[in-house]
């Protein structure tokens, strides 16, 4: 029996392309960048990064205007037969990933200019990854989730190995490829089990479309102890935890972060982590809502271990990119703390999003400074390389301090408010042990972040010696272009502003 054509017409009528206009615009931009590479004369190719950034800026403005004007007309509705669901979290995610995309393109244009690397592929990959991240955050169907995740993953493999002359970059690419492919396989196995359980027509509340989040949630409410469903859920969550880098699955992070080109490290640290957390929230509020009672303690334990591991491992680290990776693990732990508190304290969802944005601002400020300080041997940057930054470029040192201070959670800066909100939520959710561990984690993190700040600002440069190493002479010059200065000022100013006046949040959220 074949369904009639009218059935298919009705299905096709739900493909509301207008609702994903921002994603389509990004996709078109990605293709346009490739075509422009062919059309533009070689001397004018410097327009490509500008077009990539400007285009994303326009899309961002469009998303913002639509958000302000229409007061979210799509809230809660689904499109594409349940493939996508539009929620306030999804809107925030769109803005988050667009800002990320613009900043990564910006850092990338600086990074590539210093090296003999082809450019257009980089911007194309970043654009496709940005679009896929946006779809990923809004998907409410396991098929869509998996495809968007894989699109991002394939783009990331290539971006991490982008400097193919550099052994570290290629090694990072390989070390991302294998664990990431393995985690995708685990995730897929979980999805298959969930599909098999929820699609069984002999059980109550069997799902019409066993991969749609809503249908799976209804099935789970009716059959909360179906073993296949439970096993599938565990595998799905393990796959997502792999992408975020939560503790039993964090093994790939340091080498990949170190080997990747710095803009890509920033993308991994901010966008990839954000996407994982948003997917986790979507999963916990969607198909796996029934299992909160069992999942919250499990998540709390993972968050504790993650915070402790990330901070302790970062403690002795002198290579800055590994440091950012390991401290990023602990930030993932803090975010997970918020996620674990969501069932008990619903307002913490906003706090998690706020934390993500604050992490974005702080991390990109630090990564931008890293691009300026790092020479051509970018993966091997060490804290010692920053020793004369305060004298050589007070501006960069200031931005670095604000970024690191915000990441550490120092009071006048936004990072403090973000952490405070999460801690209050953990307290209200009665996750006292987790709260205690998190406070210990913050104290440890202050030590290594301030070690970096001390190296950059307070340490007296060694007395000038007759045989000064030539490398030192090379690193003291840090020319900062006007646009970069503007971007850095904006990042730092936002960090300070959100810290001093967090009521801005009310206006935004």
């Amino acid at each position: 029996m074949i369904p009639s054509l009218d059935t298919y017409r009705a299905i096709a009528a739900d493909n509301l392309w207008i609702t994903i206009l921002p994603e389509i615009a990004i996709a078109v931009l990605a293709l346009a960048v490739l075509v422009l590479e062919l059309l533009l004369p070689p001397g004018r190719r410097y327009w490509i990064p500008r077009i990539a950034m400007g285009g994303q800026g326009l899309v961002l403005a469009g998303v913002g205007v639509a958000f302000c004007l229409a007061a979210d007309p799509l809230a809660g509705r689904t499109a594409f037969n349940g493939m996508l669901q539009f929620t306030p979290l999804g809107d925030a995610a769109r803005v988050f990933f667009l800002v990320c995309g613009i900043l990564v393109c910006f850092l990338g244009s600086l990074f590539l200019r210093r090296r003999d690397l082809p450019r257009v592929e980089f911007f194309h990959l970043i654009l496709v990854a940005t679009g896929a991240f946006m779809l990923l955050a809004q998907s409410s169907h396991f098929l869509m989730l998996f495809l968007a995740l894989e699109t991002v993953a394939v783009a990331l493999y290539i971006l991490v190995g982008y400097q193919r002359q550099s052994a570290a970059s290629l090694e990072g690419g390989l070390k991302l490829l294998i664990p990431s492919a393995l985690s995708s396989a685990i995730l897929l196995a979980g999805i298959v089990l969930v599909y098999g359980a929820a699609g069984n027509p002999l059980l109550v509340e069997t799902a019409a479309d066993a991969m749609r989040f809503g249908d799976v949630a209804a099935f789970a409410r009716a059959n909360p102890d179906n073993p296949l469903l439970l096993l599938g859920m565990m595998l799905v969550l393990a796959g997502v935890a792999f992408k975020i880098g939560l503790v039993p699955f964090q093994i790939w992070i340091p080498d990949v972060y170190q080997g990747a080109p710095t803009p890509v490290t920033a993308l991994l640290a901010v966008a990839s982590k954000g996407a994982g957390v948003i997917v986790l929230i979507n999963l916990l509020q969607g198909p796996f809502e029934t299992f909160h009672a069992a999942l919250v303690p499990a998540l709390a334990v993972v968050a504790m271990v993650t915070i402790l591991f990330g901070n302790l491992a970062a403690l002795g680290q002198r290579k800055v990119k590994r440091l950012m990776g390991l401290s990023g693990i602990s930030h993932a732990g803090f975010l997970l703390l918020g996620v674990a508190a969501i069932p008990a304290v619903p307002w913490v969802l906003g706090a998690v999003v706020f934390y993500l944005f604050v992490y974005l601002l702080g991390a990109f400020a630090v990564f931008a400074v890293m691009i300026h300080v790092g020479g051509l041997n970018d993966p091997e940057q060490r804290i010692e390389d920053y020793e004369e930054l305060g004298k050589a470029s007070p501006f960069l040192a200031g931005v670095l301090c604000i970024g690191l201070g915000s990441l550490a959670g120092i009071p006048p800066l936004a990072g403090f408010i973000a952490k405070l909100l999460l801690f209050i939520a953990a307290f209200q959710a009665e996750l006292y042990l987790l709260l205690g561990i998190a406070v210990v984690g913050v104290v440890i993190s202050i030590y290594y972040y301030f070690g970096w700040i001390r190296a950059a600002v307070f340490r007296e440069p060694p007395a000038p010696q007759a045989f000064a190493p030539p490398a030192a002479a090379e690193t003291v010059t840090h020319p900062v272009s006007v646009s970069m200065r503007l971007a850095l000022v904006l990042l730092a100013a936002m960090t300070v502003l959100l810290g001093l006046y967090p009521a801005v949040l009310h206006w935004v959220l």
Binding site: L125, M144, V154, P227
Partner: protein
């Protein structure tokens, strides 16, 4: 009858998949992969998803494996060295495998995965190519488009990673660096 066939093809698939991982010679691994794909195609056919079975044989067992063999022969991959795993990793793998087996047995032999459906006679959604096409281009149109981008990104990545750096620098004159 169909039960016996299922077990036979399932055994072929699992054994070949195992041999893909274990073969030292990449050509042997690729050939075992063909066997695994054909076994999976037979399983699809047993489920009456004939179109899927045909596609599996044509695309995977045919085209994809031919590409694999081409690449293996072009790269002239040598036999890989025998790796001797350490005692710890051997024990850990054995423990993980044991846990997996116990878990699967627990799941299906004791706990049970719920009632099983007798699906014979009902229509598989992808039994006919026409059905398949309709589903793909109505209900799953957005995923199809996303897949297009996935493949595009993969293709561009392969081109970028495999491009020779020497030609790069020659093709891109320093004039491009004059970014104001």
């Amino acid at each position: 009858m169909s039960d016996i066939l299922f077990y036979a093809f399932a055994a072929i698939t699992v054994f070949s998949a195992f041999m893909v991982v274990c073969s030292r010679n990449p050509v042997n691994a690729a050939l075992f992969m063909i066997a695994a794909f054909v076994g999976a195609a037979a399983l699809f056919a047993l489920l009456e998803a004939f179109f899927l079975a045909a596609v599996q044989v044509l695309v995977y067992a045919g085209a994809v494996i031919v590409l694999f063999l081409f690449i293996i022969m072009l790269l002239d991959v040598e036999r890989t060295r025998a790796l001797r795993p350490g005692l710890v990793s051997l024990a850990a793998s054995a423990a993980a495998l044991g846990l997996l087996v116990v878990g699967v047995l627990w799941l299906f032999a004791w706990e049970g995965a719920g009632p099983l459906v007798d699906a014979r006679g009902s229509d598989a959604p992808a039994a006919l190519a026409r059905n398949f096409g309709y589903e793909l281009f109505t209900r799953y149109l957005l995923p199809v488009q996303v897949t297009g981008f996935l493949l595009l990104v993969a293709m561009i990545g392969v081109i970028h990673i495999s491009k020779r750096p020497a030609r790069d620098t020659a093709a891109e004159p320093k004039g491009e660096e004059a970014n104001p």
